[in-house]
Symmetry: D2
Subunit: 344 residues, 4 copies
Amino acid sequence: MTTASIIGGSGYGGGELLRLLLSHPHVEVKQATSRSHLGEYVYQVHPNLRKQTQLKFSDAATLEPVDILFLAQPHGQAQHHIEEYAKIGSKIIDLAADFRLRDPAFYEQWYGEKHAAPEWLSKFVYGLPELHRADLANANYVSGVGCNATASNLALLPLVKADLLDTSFPVFIEIKVGSSESGAEGNAGSHHAERANVIRTFSAFGHRHTAEVIQEMGVQQVSLTMTAVDLVRGVLATAHAKVKPGVATKDLWKAYRLVANENPFVRIVKEQRGIYRVPEPKILAGTNYADLGFELDESSGHIVSMCAIDNLMKGAAGSAVQCTNLIMGWAETTGLEFSGLHPI
Amino acid sequence: MTTASIIGGSGYGGGELLRLLLSHPHVEVKQATSRSHLGEYVYQVHPNLRKQTQLKFSDAATLEPVDILFLAQPHGQAQHHIEEYAKIGSKIIDLAADFRLRDPAFYEQWYGEKHAAPEWLSKFVYGLPELHRADLANANYVSGVGCNATASNLALLPLVKADLLDTSFPVFIEIKVGSSESGAEGNAGSHHAERANVIRTFSAFGHRHTAEVIQEMGVQQVSLTMTAVDLVRGVLATAHAKVKPGVATKDLWKAYRLVANENPFVRIVKEQRGIYRVPEPKILAGTNYADLGFELDESSGHIVSMCAIDNLMKGAAGSAVQCTNLIMGWAETTGLEFSGLHPI
Amino acid sequence: MTTASIIGGSGYGGGELLRLLLSHPHVEVKQATSRSHLGEYVYQVHPNLRKQTQLKFSDAATLEPVDILFLAQPHGQAQHHIEEYAKIGSKIIDLAADFRLRDPAFYEQWYGEKHAAPEWLSKFVYGLPELHRADLANANYVSGVGCNATASNLALLPLVKADLLDTSFPVFIEIKVGSSESGAEGNAGSHHAERANVIRTFSAFGHRHTAEVIQEMGVQQVSLTMTAVDLVRGVLATAHAKVKPGVATKDLWKAYRLVANENPFVRIVKEQRGIYRVPEPKILAGTNYADLGFELDESSGHIVSMCAIDNLMKGAAGSAVQCTNLIMGWAETTGLEFSGLHPI
Amino acid sequence: MTTASIIGGSGYGGGELLRLLLSHPHVEVKQATSRSHLGEYVYQVHPNLRKQTQLKFSDAATLEPVDILFLAQPHGQAQHHIEEYAKIGSKIIDLAADFRLRDPAFYEQWYGEKHAAPEWLSKFVYGLPELHRADLANANYVSGVGCNATASNLALLPLVKADLLDTSFPVFIEIKVGSSESGAEGNAGSHHAERANVIRTFSAFGHRHTAEVIQEMGVQQVSLTMTAVDLVRGVLATAHAKVKPGVATKDLWKAYRLVANENPFVRIVKEQRGIYRVPEPKILAGTNYADLGFELDESSGHIVSMCAIDNLMKGAAGSAVQCTNLIMGWAETTGLEFSGLHPI
């Protein structure tokens, strides 16, 4: 068994990682740390893990060396401790934003401060297998992915890969998200009486995940507009863009099918009947799928490309485990077989 | 115009009071205090009041004398300041639990500490018009009502009033509540990602509102079991009790109709067709209605009596305004005419 | 008292009209018709109206002449009966889509069939007071407004009125809607177990309400993308557009304030602190407000303009009553004073 | 591989069975029938199964012999076809109510009509492993379990098994349920705009599942009161009962622990801190767990015993697969390992 520990196990990303790793056939979880829940049983914080584990949250200072160290802390911590973490884990999978951007200047532009370990940025592979599968096979250090960036990148991937976008035209990505995105801590606006029933556009421009879309998709004119809706898990990214002159619906089918065929967790949802005709995040809860769909207005070249994911899975812990499978040489879907629920 | 001020205007009860008083034809709101939102516009905290008022939250130390002083603070504060409050308002309407129980020993039993102003307890009339309409006409001091107690008391009222209950048998009241009951502050469990979708029995026994049911209904064996469900506003109390031998459904109709006829805000909901056959809190949002219903198992004498209310209205601010109308000699329904919404 | 009847009173728009008219100080409701609920009490279908009225649904064949006839039928019926309706009501307020478009050819283009009474189209004034207040003062026939069109039109109004839009650039309007939009009938996809928790983009292009935006705003390149979310009442339209070179945030403030000042039901929501910083439909339930907000990316000229409304109020029955007030010469806000609830 | 087919695969119970069987290591699904969705891909109805199977719904007339035949039809059909079904499947697992009650007279009393195949009733074992594990090992025919009955029976099991109940006192079970209980068909009351936000007591007495509690627990005075709340999956049964004189909390711990230790899918949830202190259905979505909890009022002997389950899993398909494992001699938890999600 490959040994693994998690730093920051009491947050939502850490909890999801724990769920996945505790049932992963090749992994043995040794420790999970937490400051706020130190000494408590993991199942007291993550009640779904009752009768699954007797592990208690431990102190990060007690971490012993493992094969793989997972980092599930809030943003901005890992970059200050990466040297010591590298002594604990031969391989490191981060879930936070610390090592997602390759260029220190670009990092400073979007995060408003200098990176604390810029020399480490190039050692990390961006942790989205649909973009970097080959690189991951040889990687020791894998970055996290932003959940909104992931939904955006996968919505654009078929178009970018097949070079169908008219890049003189800006890309507007409207993203609708559930409440688990804001993390386990919560804030005044996440109180149920305020957060229930909302359609709240909390960020029109400038979301930090935009940087990951620019870096990974190579599009320069792109904006992410974030709207909170009444849901716990899930993201739907709706990208509005313009295709090159002459691009028709059949070209799009070809481009999307190519991506779906190459990637075990990508599906196309574009049905003519039934209730579920388009990608919807609700049925993805707990799964690692990214469901893609599109509609083209052939007269104007306006394309609406959609990607639905579970922000805690494909947008965080699921992709992290998928990357783990790749760097370890295991089957890519190991431990990620849950198909999701209907109805839900 | 009658002048009024509110101490504690930034909580949910205070906000609801502000909404009602700002549109009340006989009342002029002079001040509303808040510690946490001092100096902010009222509409920044209660966004429904935008374009309704330019009032800002003020400091309680600046309160000037008014005809009626409303207290909408957390429990346990008013009893320490009641003497000074009595100098500000000739009449006082409290929304909190400080002056609900008449007997200091009973208060201590349920609240676990001595009352700070026991001599004031007898000066207050319990603020539920359906129980104390006559007394209220001559009152200067009116207590608040517990929202769960109100739903419970009104569920039992027809049975108690017509003396139909077999009191040798305990009364079990199952209460389902929305998230606004826990107040504007929130807590770890009220984070949307944790609170959404819940059916959470957070208190099986011993809820403090039980004391108000014992005091007002005169039943000794009664328990309130509290379950949080996914809703913002609303309470449904389902009382399980036993009727005296021989009591039949027609006797119950008579008893419930009597209460509904005597009280402008009590309605009976007991339909044989349609979607809305029983009392439901959701359609009561913003209204002062208490909807009652019942089912009797004639073979066993087991009765299920239901009462639905909006906890912030009939269970708090609405009853307070109704009491205000009564003590001022205004029409009982003034300012409480909103009929509620369908669908919602 | 002015007499009024409603054809089609058992749907959601009809129910909302009934609620408003029953409490309107100048209106007496004579009849409300329904096929599916003929003979039932209005409150059996609209449970919020219990103890408000003893009216029963009647047969349209029994309608007697009234001062104002309201039409709240499904689309496509009124145009076949308009001549007979004109004999019943001296003034007619329609809520459906039959008389919204002025040009019969444009109607045919968007509705896919010839209009049955094209000569009547020019007799109707489009029923949005913010656009046609002066014309409404002299109108006898008022059309309904599409709820999504209304949110879109009001999101664009400040920009169009102040001529700030770069019309060479298309306008993309992302609209998120609650479940009451689909009407009281429901369908397979509106079953709670399927509809709860959704983020479902049910229409990427071609929604019929687009025609009303083109007609009323004069923009030619505009698309409405419709996404259902978990909410009962409410629409948020987020318009993405480009402003003319040099337009700055201060110009936008001026343009939005102008519209808010001229219209009693338009508010600007653009706060720097608190929970409610942007327009949100949830707090508008039951109100006639349209809340506007905006964000400008000055570097690119990309503007995000938002409008939140209650689809059954400002997007249907509320605007209809507001128009009624105008054509009758009553104060514009009569009967529409409800301020909405917080929390909800 | 053991072969299996499902009659009635397009409903919610059938869909859940398909999900479980398609990933079950010892089972090969041959056919799934549906009338309303004949010829459609299974994933068009159950969108979670996209990329999991290419199976299409087939006609029941085409069913070929299999090792195990699962019946997931609406109640009242299987009893008319059981002879032919027995020719198709050597073993039969029913999910419906046709074969749950052992006594034909008792069946007639609760279902209001004579059973069509009374001689088959005694051939079926009631399909709740926690009650009939030993019998199931030798069974060929297994009945379904009512979801509300299952939550009730498991809430009572520790008390009945340890003989702690004062049976002279009636048992009142308050059950709160999600919308998936009403099945995939839906009805007027399940329209999202009506069903969202509800606390709707749709049945105070006489729910048919009561019969299963009487039969399996041996209690005679028991009532189930059903309340719909805003949730898709999940049941919480709260049983109010009286324990024998002298029974203390420690006796209850012992009784509940005994049941939890004997049964892999039973857990006790009774914590003093954290958010999840009591059984809650939401975290059980997709799992086969039954979470139990209790509170005792030692002064009165009033016990509140709670059981939370996922109605489609432990209350239907999950128990069916657990029974399948038992009758086939496979490990009891095979294919039921999903731990559930947090948050959700």
